[in-house]
């Protein structure tokens, strides 16, 4: 049992990369910066693979969950006891493989994509920092350490969204992401306090043991804990009501959108719910809330994505929508289905973002799909890989998205009346998803080429005139991810669920249900047909350049305007939350707090000190005789006091009894 998995190496390696590039990167040649930046996640990936192979459930040499305490006790105060300990189990294995594997691919891609950017070293040091925190998040064995990673990925996300900090919109988007996430983190913190109050511990293991020891206790405090944690999850995973930061986060470089805002960080909320599922299972109300939030977000974001014209924004809203699916999966207690979708989504959404980045790169920075078209010939590799991603996300057999989405929808359908309702919401969302993804696909790659596209891009230098295919260093990750998007789902939910079941509980296996096999088949066919209908509608409207979409939009102007304005949610939040806060800060905190209390007390203190000083300085005349006079006067006063005291004490005056002897 002396097998050591060296889990601590997994976060530390990217951290070393961050330190090297962050401190020295400015002075290092570009090749060395890339080498360091790529070596760190690769090494971490290899450590993960070694750990997974060693601890594979079949090889029972290591008992899962394997807990590694790498730095002893962290906090030890009274009843509160928190360790720096990492845990490896089936769930964190899946997450680690996604994070370091997809993360490494995106690092490779970034070498090509960020090649001509200033601050190349800064970009890679942030990216490595992100991997450091993200691996801490999934490795943590207690909520507090997880929270460290949770906050840390928020920081890395903020830094990378605001990477082009000289552009005001990017800096604002970074701030928005940070502040909105902070609201969610507040919920997470409250949830942790409640956990501490209820269980006296923050360790997953001891909370799980405590829950197992008290079966049948439901609702009440568990509902409160779950709802608080859910607020945290909606913040990080961009769900209603805190999703508003994710579309703006597209201001960051595209590989960042792929890594942080599609594949890994935003799935932290789903991971957290799956990790805490034993508490969620005790609160049907909280689970129903999760499911409703998930389904509502999926539908809501999909409708917004229908009319977006910025290629990255379409993908951003589709990410929100897909995260909604994962929440729906968690909400119907099908955690392994949710994690399955998390995995396939990481593949195809990273692929879609990277392919979109390749298109943007090829057009010299153009992101508006209306100015694209006919790129099929110019960017063949990008076209084919993106096609794989689009088919995968639309959920068409046999691509990865089909299996995971189908699993979630099947589980939802099996989950009572509420589940059936949400199933139909999910089905409609699948239709919308298929439509807007193929709309994007047609607008970008089909139709006639627009020669003015590249020229009207933001810079008009020579390389922007002709759309050009990206270098191999960007295409290779695309190809790998395309293959993963195809085969990633073939393992099937049954096997995947069985693998995860020690951590997140068993999943309903259609083969074991009465009539489950047939129902599963029917639902799968329905889902695929729905996706094909979406494709067909997109084909009718966007295959050829026509005014059909415009006519369609003109037919329902109110709806179109509402969608184009994204339901004005940003504006509503602006008026109901941001503006009162700003005004409150300005008037209450600014005038009363700062003006009266802080400034007033400072002035009072300074004024009194000055006045006293002005009075006292008159004593310091520098005149020797005045000092001597004060000295003499002081001595006289002391003498007088002593004499009067002695007189008072004896009552009869000083007896100089030796006088006259």
């Amino acid at each position: 049992m002396n097998i050591h998995l060296y889990l601590w190496l997994i976060p530390i390696l990217p951290f070393v990369g961050f330190l090297l590039n962050g401190i020295l990167g400015r002075h290092l040649p570009k090749a060395l910066v890339s080498t360091i930046a790529l070596a760190a996640p690769l090494a971490a990936f290899l450590v993960v693979i070694r750990a997974v192979l060693t601890a594979w459930p079949g090889n029972s040499s290591v008992a899962l969950p394997y807990v590694e305490n790498f730095a002893g006790s962290w906090i030890n105060a009274g009843l509160l006891h928190v360790d720096f300990s990492f845990a490896l189990d089936q769930l964190s294995m899946v997450m680690l493989l996604i994070i370091t594997g997809v993360g490494f691919l995106i690092h490779i891609y970034s070498v090509g994509y960020m090649g001509h950017e200033d601050g190349y070293w800064r970009y890679f040091s942030y990216l490595n920092l992100f991997l450091f925190f993200m691996t801490i998040l999934v490795l943590a064995e207690n909520y507090l350490l997880m929270f460290v990673g949770w906050e840390g990925v928020g920081l890395a996300s903020y830094l990378l969204i605001g990477f082009y900090f000289d552009r005001k919109s990017a800096a604002d988007a970074g701030k928005k992401a940070f502040v909105v996430n902070r609201i969610g983190d507040f919920g997470f913190l409250l949830g942790m306090f409640l956990l501490l109050f209820q269980f006296g511990s923050l360790s997953f293991g001891s909370i799980g043991a405590n829950l197992a020891a008290h079966p049948g206790v439901e609702g009440g405090i568990f509902t409160a804990i779950c709802l608080c944690l859910l607020v945290g999850a909606t913040g990080k995973s961009a769900q209603i009501p805190l999703y508003i930061w994710l579309p703006d986060a597209m201001e960051g470089p595209t590989p960042v959108s792929a890594l942080i805002h599609a594949a890994t960080m935003v799935t932290a909320g789903v991971y957290m719910i799956a990790r805490t599922h034993s508490i969620f299972d005790r609160s049907p109300f909280a689970l129903a809330t999760v499911a409703i939030i998930g389904a509502a977000t999926a539908f809501f974001a999909a409708t917004i994505a229908l009319v977006q014209t910025d290629i990255k924004r379409v993908l951003a809203y589709s990410t929100i929508s897909q995260l909604g699916y994962m929440f729906l999966g968690c909400g119907v207690a099908a955690y392994s289905a949710a994690v399955f979708h998390l995995m396939t989504h990481a593949f195809f959404k990273a692929l879609l973002f990277l392919a979109a980045g390749s298109v943007i790169h090829g057009l010299g920075g153009e992101q508006d799909m209306r100015k694209m078209g006919g790129l099929r010939k110019q960017l063949p590799v990008t076209f084919w890989t993106m096609t794989a991603g689009v088919i995968a996300i639309a959920g068409i057999f046999p691509f990865a998205g089909f299996f995971s989405k189908d699993a979630i929808l099947y589980e939802a359908f099996q989950h009572g009346t509420l589940g059936k309702t949400l199933y139909f919401v999910g089905l409609v969302t699948a239709l919308l998803t298929s439509f807007y993804m193929f709309r994007m696909w047609y607008m970008t790659f089909f139709g006639e080429a627009k020669p003015d596209a590249a020229q009207s891009g933001h810079d008009q230098d020579a390389h922007a005139v002709h759309a050009h295919e990206s270098p191999w260093v960007m295409l290779a990750p695309l190809a790998i991810l395309a293959i993963l998007s195809l085969v990633g789902g073939w393992i099937g939910i049954e096997k995947f669920g069985e693998f995860l079941s020690p951590v997140v509980g068993p999943v309903i296996d259609p083969a074991l249900e009465a009539g489950g096999k047939n129902l599963d088949l029917v639902l799968s066919i329905v889902a695929v047909v729905t996706a094909l209908i979406g494709w067909y509608v997109a084909h009718l409207l966007y295959r050829r350049k026509s005014d059909k979409p415009a006519q369609f939009a003109a037919a329902v102007p109110g709806v179109y305007r509402m969608l184009a304005k994204k339901y004005a949610v940003d504006e509503i939040y602006g008026y109901t939350v941001v503006k009162p806060l700003v005004l409150g800060s300005q008037y209450i905190l600014g005038w009363i707090g700062e003006g009266v209390i802080i400034r007033g007390s400072a002035w009072l203190l300074a004024g009194v000190t000055g006045l006293v000083g002005e009075l006292l300085r008159r004593w310091q005349s520098g005149n020797l005789r005045s000092y001597a006079a004060w000295l003499a006067a002081g001595a006289a006063v002391l003498l007088l006091l002593a004499a009067s005291y002695a007189m008072g004490a004896s009552g009869t005056g000083i007896h100089l009894n030796w006088v006259g002897r």
Partner: protein
């Protein structure tokens, strides 16, 4: 000796000398006179030391007087040197004009 001059007379003389020293210190402007007033105060104290030592048959008072005389000698040496230095630098010994240390 028992019927000689009573001790209180010595003490009264000591007090008078001390007061004279204080008044001289306060009202005289010449640094030399101020310095002499200090010596006067020291010796007034010496006188009362000796008186008390005699009165209570304690030799400590006598010893203390020697200490004071020694300190006074040292003080005279240092003090006069300072006075000469001040005079050379400022060409005056008026204490009212030697006030460079005020704020």
């Amino acid at each position: 000796m028992m019927n000689a001059i009573p001790s209180s007379w010595y003490l009264i003389l000591s007090a008078l000398l001390f007061t004279l020293g204080v008044v001289g210190f306060l009202i005289k402007r010449s640094l030399i006179t101020v310095f002499m007033s200090i010596e006067l105060m020291l010796n007034a104290v010496n006188l009362s030391f000796v008186t008390f030592a005699h009165e209570w048959h304690q030799v400590k008072g006598q010893i203390f007087v020697f200490f004071v005389m020694m300190v006074a000698a040292a003080e005279a040496a240092v003090g006069l040197a300072i006075i000469i230095a001040i005079f050379r630098a400022r060409a005056t010994l008026n204490v009212d004009q030697i006030d460079l240390m005020k704020l």
